[in-house]
Symmetry: C2
Subunit: 344 residues, 2 copies
């Protein structure tokens, strides 16, 4: 701010060398004698010198700032993801600017612009619902490295890292069907999102493979909140023949479903089996513990982080996507202890 801060020339004077030498010393250049470097560093320390990244960025025309844009940080999974991402970037020497868009495209536009003005080196984004390629057109044109996680940017030429939703949901569905469940539902997610579509494919693949009667399956989209899910599940259980298994879009939805079922006095593990997706921290300390698909959040974060950093170092690198195979973690919620006889 106001108080004239210690700068390189100050350190230079104190150490009795030139500006250039100080600059070199600060980046531990091999061109300098170790003795000189030590002398400079000591002077810097004594003066309380603090490096000005901003000035360096200006001169170098580059920066070590990453913009991280997340669609819904109130969802614990995204919070876990954001934390992992931040940690990885931080370990790689980057600093991250963070923004939550609450699935709002306009907000997303705004922070994107703000981040660019601040000179981020690249953008890591979990796109808001309905994001279109054109939202990023000008940034791609300018050559800003972008990688998306969890949700692709439709039609965009950028790295995309996500769990293999289809595979995961297929396995979860299979797992329920293996227990003799016949009436099964998939619940949750925004109807026209890619992440929903992929999951739906997995669900359908499994029920088709098991040759389940098509009118014994249901697919009910709903907003990804506990509340919405707990309300949506009413639709299901108010029916004449409610499903015996629910494959949930994600853990948040599963938690909402758990609540809804409990309120309707249906017991998970007895009347009905459910699975989640994301394997959030809470899964194994919730009653009953929630079976879920582990997306290997940390690996996801590492891949995304690495992808972006690669792209920063070599902007011409071709696009590379990664789909990480999730692992089904079976806990109590998906095990029917006494399966009621289905009426034939």
């Amino acid at each position: 701010m106001k108080p004239p801060s210690i700068t390189i020339p100050d350190v230079a004077k104190a150490a009795g060398v030139s500006k250039s030498t100080v600059s070199l010393a600060l980046q531990d250049s091999p061109k300098l004698r170790t003795e000189t470097k030590k002398k400079v560093m000591k002077a810097a320390r004594q003066l309380g010198y603090v490096y000005n990244q901003g000035a360096a960025n200006l001169r170098r025309r580059s920066s070590s700032m990453i913009g991280m844009i997340i669609n819904d940080l109130t969802n614990p999974f995204f919070a876990e993801l954001a934390i992992a991402l931040e940690r990885h970037f931080s370990e790689a020497g980057y600093v991250v600017m963070m923004a939550n868009t609450s699935e709002d495209r306009e907000q997303q536009d705004k922070v994107l612009r703000a981040f660019c003005e601040h000179g981020v080196a690249g953008i890591l984004i979990s796109p808001a619902y309905n994001t279109a390629q054109q939202d990023f057109a000008s940034y791609f044109a300018r050559g800003l490295p972008i990688v998306s996680v969890m949700q692709p940017i439709p039609g965009a030429e950028c790295d995309y890292i996500a769990p293999d939703y289809q595979l995961g949901i297929q396995e979860a569905t299979q797992h329920l069907l293996d227990q003799g469940i016949e009436r099964i539902a998939f619940l949750g997610g925004r109807l026209d999102s890619a992440a929903f579509h992929e999951r739906k494919k997995g669900f359908l693949a499994a029920v088709e493979k098991a040759a389940i009667d098509p009118d014994k399956i249901q697919i009910i989209p709903c907003a990804v909140t506990r509340k919405a899910a707990s309300e949506a599940v009413q639709q299901l259980i108010d029916q004449e023949h409610p499903p015996q298994g629910i494959v949930c879009y994600c853990d948040i939805v599963a938690f909402g479903v758990t609540f809804g079922l409990h309120n309707s006095h249906l017991e998970i593990g007895v009347d009905i089996a459910i699975t989640g997706f994301d394997d959030v921290l809470a899964c194994d300390t919730v009653s009953p513990p929630l079976s879920s698909l582990r997306p290997h959040t940390d690996q996801l974060a590492r891949l995304a982080c690495d992808s972006l950093i690669q792209k920063l170092k070599d902007p011409t690198r071709p696009v590379a996507n990664h789909l990480v195979k999730p692992k089904l973690i079976v806990r109590e919620s998906s095990i029917l202890t006494k399966l009621k006889q289905p009426q034939h």
Copy 2:
């Protein structure tokens, strides 16, 4: 990065004016004719000009970046707080750099330094466990505006915004005692943290006021995780006369306790009543819905944000603390439907 970007001189040339005029136009200065401003803005738009905050910061010796440092983002409450803070700063025209310290003081040191080198205008921090004043000494000396939330920096001269833990816990304790509960416990929190100490005071104040027999109360600290809490609660219920009420340090602890109790086949609302603190999103979609103290997270965030911004504008502003009175939200978890007769 590399591609020579459009700069003010470029816009100036295109608009047929000088650098200075463009600069003035960009900040919508009243010194310029509206006609001129329009002309400049049009040129800027056509060229795809993007403002370089970094260069401006350098020249102005100020910035619009805030460093936000949070001790535990895996705790949904802190995630909610972080989101609210980010939103407020963003609305005020600031961009926030975020870091999670995982309660690690060394990590905190590192990001603090990194943020400073990047030239943040101020720091908003929820300090890691055991943070000492000296960790910030050099930053205070340099005049960096800092405000702390949720946990004070012991002995430091900086604004501090938090819920009134004591008042809140006292009210929650009172609420349980009002139902005729006699054996009561306080569970959770790090023994030597200020936030624990304050809560303990509130708990003790309530039990003393109700003249509860001192050996019918217990205070059990534990790490703030679901797992730790669910294990800690065993200690309580394995006793000869387990408590009938547990005042939990926070919601996360309460969720852990809920899980632990469930596993031990104790029913909340029948055998035992519990309260949480933080009123996180999940409270009302968990079974049974958790009674909790609402810290008014958004107001907390607004106060913290305002405090910091005030301090940025007037660094000489005297220190001002805010303790926000939490509101007890009574849900099912704290209501004993049929209180078992206490043995007289």
